[in-house]
Symmetry: C2
Subunit: 408 residues, 2 copies
């Protein structure tokens, strides 16, 4: 028996979606994209209790509808297939037919029930899914010890510049449990789910409704707190699969170690969210905005989002300009009740505004700080005890370059 003396959560260096027991993943090139991998798959040796959250965009893409159908069947999924390059969004009846066909052929290849298969797509909107290429690709999937999670991580990317993964381990009820994850997302990233896909795996056994509740809550503290450009896409999805291979007693909200599990899940989701924000199109810096002293959770989150969403703040940080006036302005138009005469703003350790008034500070020191790759902005509203953190990135020439010529 594997004994774990430590109770503390640990990051697993190099960990990924297959770090938890009983998961395999891989990726291949099926020809949707020119040369990059474009078809990724994730497989659990047994059907896993699965929860999902989905885009709020009314133009929800076909694969999301199909995946929701699968999950709603019995809250179990055994395998996920993801293609990049084409989003299968705004593709009408044909898109839905293609999505069903993609699920059917994949399930057949994996030898599982159709309703135990999930699918996801990301890429161009309004282009028919190249279903024949995908079917040919599916026939080349082999699950064995040589499968490679890094290929899955690559196959789900679009304009991302790097793969995004994370894993943590900890102990619940005397059993070692691992949570791993992979994500993609670079443009169309904004609170309420964006062109963002995230797949989280765990070998913990978790009660289905409690897993769903935890995911929803954690999404609001991770994926829904990042922004790249304010655009919320048609294809966003976060899935978490819990296959129980850790042999722990099934976790529920009543479990003694429930907070430990939730903390681990939050950690993986936040790491992935930050990696997405940092890899925002054209980004050179990660911006982390912590709002403290808010009267309500809604206010803390809205103000954090207003700041990380401000083009003017983002451009100033790209230029290493400590232009706190733009931060204050964003707080002011967030739509939240704020007492201007209370507000404190710090850029890193440099307090630039207190009680609503500017403080004199060393501009050179501030510029130096803003040349770092991670920029922390702290706001204290002095109205209550609620806090929220959001993540974003700077706005660079390259953002414009990438998005002025995405299709050409």
């Amino acid at each position: 028996m594997q004994t774990v003396s430590k109770k503390e959560m640990q990051l697993v260096q190099g960990g990924n979606v297959t770090t938890p027991q009983g998961f395999f993943a891989g990726g291949l090139h099926c020809g949707i994209r020119k040369t990059k991998l474009d078809l990724g798959w994730l497989y659990s040796v047994v059907p896993a209790t699965t929860a999902g959250v989905y885009t709020t965009n009314v133009f929800q893409a076909a694969p999301l509808l199909v995946t929701q159908e699968s999950i709603s069947n019995n809250n179990k999924i055994q395998a996920i297939l993801v293609n990049s390059g084409v989003a299968n969004a705004c593709t009408g009846e044909q898109g839905l037919t293609d999505a069903y066909e993609m699920r059917r052929v994949f399930a057949e290849e994996m030898n599982i029930s159709e309703l135990d298969a999930a699918i996801a797509s990301t890429g161009l909107i309004g282009v028919p899914l190249p279903i024949d290429k995908i079917k040919a690709g599916i026939s080349r999937i082999h699950i064995d010890e040589n499968t490679d999670a890094s290929k899955f991580e690559q196959a789900i990317l679009t304009t991302d510049t790097c793969v995004k993964n994370a894993a943590v381990e900890f102990e619940v009820g005397g059993k070692k449990v691992t949570i791993g994850g992979a994500a993609k997302g670079s443009g169309m990233i904004h609170p309420n789910m964006a062109t963002m896909l995230s797949f989280v795996t765990t070998d913990a056994a978790v009660k289905e409704q409690d897993l769903a509740d935890a995911l929803k809550d954690i999404t609001n503290q991770s994926f829904n707190m990042i922004t790249v450009d304010g655009d919320t896409s048609t294809n966003d999805m976060v899935l978490v699969m819990a296959n129980g291979k850790a042999n722990n007693e099934t976790l529920t909200k009543e479990s003694h170690d429930w907070p430990v599990f939730v903390n681990g899940l939050k950690k993986v989701c936040q790491i992935l969210a930050k990696k997405i924000a940092r890899d925002g199109e054209g980004a050179t810096k990660l911006i982390e905005v912590q709002v403290n002293g808010a009267a309500t959770d809604v206010a803390a989150r809205a103000i954090s989002k207003a700041i990380i969403s401000s083009n003017l703040v983002k451009a100033a940080i790209y230029g290493a300009d400590p232009n706190w006036g733009r931060i204050v302005t964003a707080i002011g138009y967030s739509g939240q009740q704020v007492n201007p005469n209370n507000v404190k703003v710090a850029i890193g350790s440099i307090t630039v505004v207190d009680n609503g008034l500017p403080l004199s500070f060393d501009e050179e020191k501030a510029k130096d700080y803003l040349s770092n790759e991670t920029i922390n902005i702290y706001v204290d509203l002095k109205q209550g005890n609620t806090t929220a953190t959001g993540w974003g990135c700077d706005l660079s020439y390259d953002y414009v370059k990438i998005n002025a010529s995405y299709r050409t």
Copy 2:
């Protein structure tokens, strides 16, 4: 007696805030900015019925508080002083003291009551108002036939690249009436008033409450329907002064020609709003988004704003890329009830989506169209009869350049 046979509203070529009878305007350099004009004034020969709308930002700058006090006295203003370079926002008690002093000295120089004077400021936030320079500047104001409205237009600018003016004339109750306007605004421009100042003059006599109601309504169809970057500033203000020098019977909502007057006021405000959008920081194109067939006014406006606010749409138009997927995506996350299967989208005369599905179109023709300086996007939701139009600009390298180094 001046007789006007035409009833139709006419644009006055080269018209400005002094085109209506009884208004004078000028500008000078008082030393806040390096060399550009930075102090503008506008004067009516008699106190004018005045209405205003102001920023919704909770960090409302000191000059707005002082101006609101003046207007609320008896709804009359005779003269307005505007400085650029420093916004007098986030300047606390001292800022308010400076704003009162600015009004007091200006009123004294113009030989009018303090409560008949309004002030406005635009520029850097959090910097003390250089009140001594402004006072010295005020002492150099001379109202005579040599005053020059173009100097007023220049003195109120910040990062704008051009002056913004408009004038129309028409007939009400047999009298010729003129409406003129000047505006500034380039960054921090977003619905709900931005770093945007607009001053409208008319020689019509108008009942004060009806003028205020008309301005509020028209602002929602003009200045509140433009966006450059989504940021709403601390200093936004629109004032309209009606001095009655046209000798018309005082216009009220009940007047036969009330719609004619409202139409004229709307025209001036929309021309100014479009000029602001076109001169957005780094903009190379004006984007006009018309949403038709909406179920409600709120929906039409929200969807128009979502599209003109989308960085991805703006960058695509900069790159002349007919990426309609981004337009559809923006419609989808606007927060409005939309039936995806109804939606029609046209870029100029090229319908790219209908009934929620992409149509094949000539990409080269679309790219050609998107190389124009004015881009029209039409959306038909096929849900009702409501329409709204919004204006914005493309997102260019220069936007980033300007805003990465505004203060340095």
